[in-house]
Structure formats: structure tokens, C-alpha cells
């Protein structure tokens, strides 16, 4: 079993896949706590569907670098969703549902109408649930992913205290003069970037899981924001790498395997939390 694993690890494309997954897992977990507590979970979900639609458009136009289209479209949607969400809560929820389902339908329709490849359902399935494309990454993909992840991590560290303040109590932050709208915009933009990057790993339907599960697990066990953030980052990376190893060995789909590992980790964390809470 280990021989098989080592054999894979000696290959360039596997190394690329491992580097990219580690980076993606790391930055996708960072904003999880904020997303969960600010009730932004739905925005994450909605955005991943928008990204799916954008990828469909990109493939129709045969763009060589789909990121150029997908990233701006997703960021704009994030900003729009946040705007509507702030004005009225219920309307915001409806808007998210509308945009996400609409994007999904348009994406699928476009892929159907302008199908380039003979394996349409395979294409759709890999965009929705992640693909083996993880193992066909080029050096350029690794660089793009690395740069975006680095940007996300740097932004998060620089604005860590502000993100904490705005997440915990937006009204207080605003009252003492913090530019809460600006930070909400920043958070939404970073979430959009994370989703676009993380889709490569687990596909658009499963991407919210990658963002939310590590944070939820860490919240069961740890007490402070700093501990929770560090724990969810570590947990996310460990789960992603474990998931990849399992999927390579058992030949299961990468995205789904990672999410199942995350789910298992959440179960364990909930158990630890329950025991510690009682003790």
C-alpha cells in the first residue's frame, strides 16, 4: 500500500497536486468561522454555482484561461449578493437562491447547446464534483493557485483583528468608526477568490463543505478565535491530504473523498467537544 503511495509521490504531477491541495485547503478554511457566524454560508453556496455558470461560459467561448472570466464574474456576484443581503434579510436569501439556481441552469444549458466534447455529462459532473483534472495540473496552474492562495493568506493575516471585530459585532465596529462596509466587501471578495480556487479541488457543489466543515469542527473544541482559526487551517490541510491519499489508493473520486474525510473529522470533533463540555 505504501509502495503505491510512494510511487505516486515520486511523480511530478502528484507533487503538484499535493502542493495545490495544501494551499487550497489552507486558505479555504481561514474564513470559515466568519462565513458560518455571519450567516454567509448561503452566499458561499450561491457563489459556487455562479462560478459553475461562468466556467460553462468560458468553455463555450473556448477561453484558454478560464480564470480571467470566472474570477471577475464571481467577485462581482459576491459583491451584489452582499449588497442585497444587507438591505433585507429575507429578500437577500431569495436573491441568493435565484442567482445560484439561475447560474446553474444557464451553465448547464450553455454546455448542452454548445457541447464541444462528446462526453458532456462527464464534463458537467467533473465541474460539479471536482475532477481528476487535479492530476493534470500544469506548472502554470500551480503558480496561479499559489499566488492567489498567498494573497488570501496575507490579506487574512493583515486584517485578522478587523475581521474578528466586524464578525463579532458589526454595529459596535461601525459605531467606533471602523469601515464595516469596506471589510464586508473585502470578506466577500476573498470568499469569491477562495471559491474559484477551491473548485479545482472538489468541484462547485462541494466547495462550501471545504470552507465550512473545518471551521465547524474547530469550533466544537477550541475557545478562542485564534485557536479556532489555527485549528481549522491545520485540520483542513490534514483532511485534504488524507482524502487525496485515500482516493489514490482506493481509486475513489477526489472531491467527494475529501469532503467525507472532513465530515468524519467533524464527527470526531463534535464527540471530543461533547466529552470535554461534560467533564
Amino acid at each position: 500500500m505504501f509502495e503505491k503511495l510512494f510511487l505516486y509521490l515520486s511523480m511530478d504531477f502528484v507533487i503538484y497536486a499535493v502542493i495545490v491541495s495544501t494551499l487550497i485547503a489552507l486558505c479555504s478554511s481561514l474564513l470559515g468561522v466568519t462565513l458560518v457566524l455571519k450567516r454567509f454560508s448561503f452566499i458561499g453556496d450561491g457563489l459556487s454555482h455562479v462560478a459553475f455558470g461562468a466556467i460553462a461560459i468560458a468553455s463555450v467561448f473556448n477561453l484558454t484561461n478560464e480564470m480571467l472570466l470566472v474570477l471577475p464574474l464571481t467577485v462581482i456576484s459576491a459583491i451584489l449578493l452582499l449588497r442585497t443581503g444587507q438591505n433585507a434579510r429575507i429578500k437577500g436569501d431569495a436573491a441568493i437562491a435565484m442567482i445560484s439556481v439561475g447560474a446553474l441552469a444557464i451553465g448547464y444549458l450553455l454546455m448542452n447547446l454548445f457541447a464541444k466534447s462528446s462526453n458532456l455529462s462527464g464534463d458537467v459532473c467533473s465541474t460539479l464534483f471536482g475532477s481528476t483534472a487535479l492530476l493534470t495540473l500544469s506548472e502554470k496552474d500551480v503558480i496561479i493557485c499559489g499566488v492567489l492562495s498567498a494573497v488570501v493568506v496575507v490579506i487574512f493575516v493583515l486584517f485578522y483583528n478587523k475581521i474578528l471585530a466586524v464578525t463579532f459585532d458589526e454595529n459596535f465596529a461601525k459605531a467606533v468608526g471602523t469601515n464595516t462596509e469596506g471589510y464586508n466587501l473585502l470578506i466577500a471578495t476573498v470568499i469569491a477568490v477562495i471559491i474559484v480556487v477551491a473548485m479545482k479541488l472538489v468541484g462547485s457543489l462541494l466547495v462550501s463543505a471545504l470552507i465550512i466543515f473545518p471551521a465547524l469542527s474547530a469550533m466544537r473544541i477550541f475557545k478562542s478565535f485564534k485557536q479556532v482559526t489555527i485549528c481549522s487551517a491545520v485540520l483542513s490541510v490534514v483532511c485534504a491530504l488524507t482524502g487525496i491519499c485515500i482516493s489514490v489508493l482506493a481509486e475513489t473520486p477526489v472531491g467527494a473523498t475529501i469532503v467525507v474525510v472532513d465530515l468524519a473529522a467533524f464527527g470526531i470533533a463534535a464527540l471530543i467537544g461533547a466529552i470535554a463540555g461534560r467533564g
Binding site: L37, N161, K162, L164, T167, F172, A175
Partner: protein, 239 residues
């Protein structure tokens, strides 16, 4: 000069007036209570004082070197906070966010200020506990310490004893009174008229009639004496 002077202020949303003709002032060391029924515009006035929304007309003048954002605010608790994984220290420190500006991390002075205010509120031994595991009274003290980090001269308290049991309520009022004696001006929005007339120097009554007066005059006024009669009656009924 007063710390805050409000002249003929009209507050509301968009162009819908919620309350108008509001005038009052807050001097250093004052204890002002804002009382009135639900929907009388108490929260709207409070948000306007905090610059969370714009006044429709009238003026708010900050004097004595007070700047925008220098009102320490104790908000009512929100749902988000119930399950928030943050330590007491982290939350108190977030009161310093305005002092921090664009600097990404808190410096030594800010950390010392946070510690000092935790001591003041008697929560320094809770520093590493999680906020969500605390009792309601302890949580209020954490938020009060945070408000003190943001501003030392004026505190604006929004229903500070909502949801607390009688013993903790009394403790909370004592703490607020102590801060007031130390020279912090208090503006308290409250339903609790009994506490208002007990602790405050001035009352701003919001309702059909909006007026600002001393506590003594308020007790003689129609509105004030009505509440006091009601309260006495309740006490008699309870006996």
C-alpha cells in the same frame, strides 16, 4: 462646554420621522437615562448618536475634544454572539480597533488598556475563557470592558440589564454607578423607570411628549408620576 449637545434633533429612517424636537446635553460625569415605550424612537436616537445613521434635521455637537466614535457603546447582544468562539481577552481588545487604525495588530499600550479595563470590570481571571461559555452578567461585563477600551468619557448603554436576573441586575447597576462616580458620563437607554429615577441625574422622556429634565422634576411630571404610581400599586399588589 458639554461633551454632547443635541439641538432640536429629528431622527428617523429615510424620510420617515420617528421622533422630532429632541434636545438635551451631556456634561462630564452626567448620568442620563433615556426612557419611553417601544417604538418611541429610543433606538433610532441611539443609532443617530453613534453615527450609525444620519439625523434628518437638527444638530449633534461634540465638545470638549470629543470625536466621532468616542462614545463607548454597549449594544444589546445579537444572535451571532451566542455561539462565537472568541476569548474574553480577544473581545475586550477589539474595543481598541479604532485606536489601531490601519495598523494590523494591537500594540502594547492597547493590550495594557484592555487588561486595565478587564480589571476594572473584575473579569481578568476570565481572560482566557470563551465568551459563549459565560453567564449573561459576565458577558455584559466583557462588553462593558470593551466599550471602555473604545472610549473613556462617555458610555452609551442599550438596555444593559435586559435578560439578567434581579441579583445580577443590581450588581450591574452598581458597576455602572461606580463608573459614573469615577467620572464617566453615562447615557442609558432603559425600560426600567425605577432604576432610571434611582440612579440617573437627568431623564430624557420619549413618547407623545419628548422632554429632557432633571430626575426630581421628572418625578413630578405627568409621565413620571404616572409610572411611579403604577409601580407603587404593583408593589402593594405584590404585598
Amino acid at each position: 462646554m458639554s461633551l454632547i449637545e443635541v439641538n432640536n434633533l429629528t431622527v428617523g429612517y429615510d424620510n420617515e420621522v420617528v421622533a422630532s424636537g429632541i434636545s438635551f446635553r451631556v456634561n462630564e460625569g452626567d448620568y442620563l437615562c433615556i426612557v419611553g415605550e417601544n417604538g418611541s424612537g429610543k433606538s433610532t436616537l441611539m443609532k443617530t448618536l453613534l453615527h450609525l445613521q444620519k439625523p434628518l434635521s437638527g444638530e449633534i455637537i461634540f465638545g470638549d475634544g470629543m470625536k466621532r466614535g468616542e462614545i463607548g457603546y454597549l449594544p444589546q447582544q445579537t444572535l451571532v454572539q451566542k455561539d462565537f468562539p472568541a476569548s474574553v481577552k480577544e473581545i475586550v481588545l477589539s474595543g481598541c480597533q479604532a485606536k489601531c487604525g490601519m495598523r494590523p495588530f494591537y500594540n502594547k499600550e492597547e493590550k495594557a488598556l484592555a487588561l486595565q479595563n478587564m480589571r476594572r470590570m473584575g473579569i481578568e481571571d476570565l481572560a482566557n475563557r470563551s465568551y459563549r461559555d459565560l453567564s449573561g452578567g459576565q458577558q455584559q461585563r466583557v462588553l462593558l470592558a470593551r466599550a471602555l477600551c473604545a472610549a473613556g468619557k462617555v458610555l452609551l448603554l442599550d438596555e444593559p440589564v435586559a435578560g439578567l436576573d434581579p441579583k445580577v441586575t443590581a450588581e450591574m447597576y452598581e458597576r455602572i454607578e461606580k463608573l459614573n462616580k469615577e467620572g464617566v458620563a453615562i447615557i442609558m437607554v432603559s425600560h426600567d423607570i425605577a432604576a432610571a429615577v434611582r440612579y440617573a441625574d437627568y431623564i430624557l422622556h420619549m413618547g407623545e411628549r419628548i422632554f429632557y429634565t432633571t430626575k426630581e422634576k421628572y418625578m413630578e411630571s405627568e409621565e413620571g408620576s404616572f409610572f411611579i404610581r403604577m409601580q407603587n400599586k404593583e408593589e402593594q399588589d405584590n404585598v
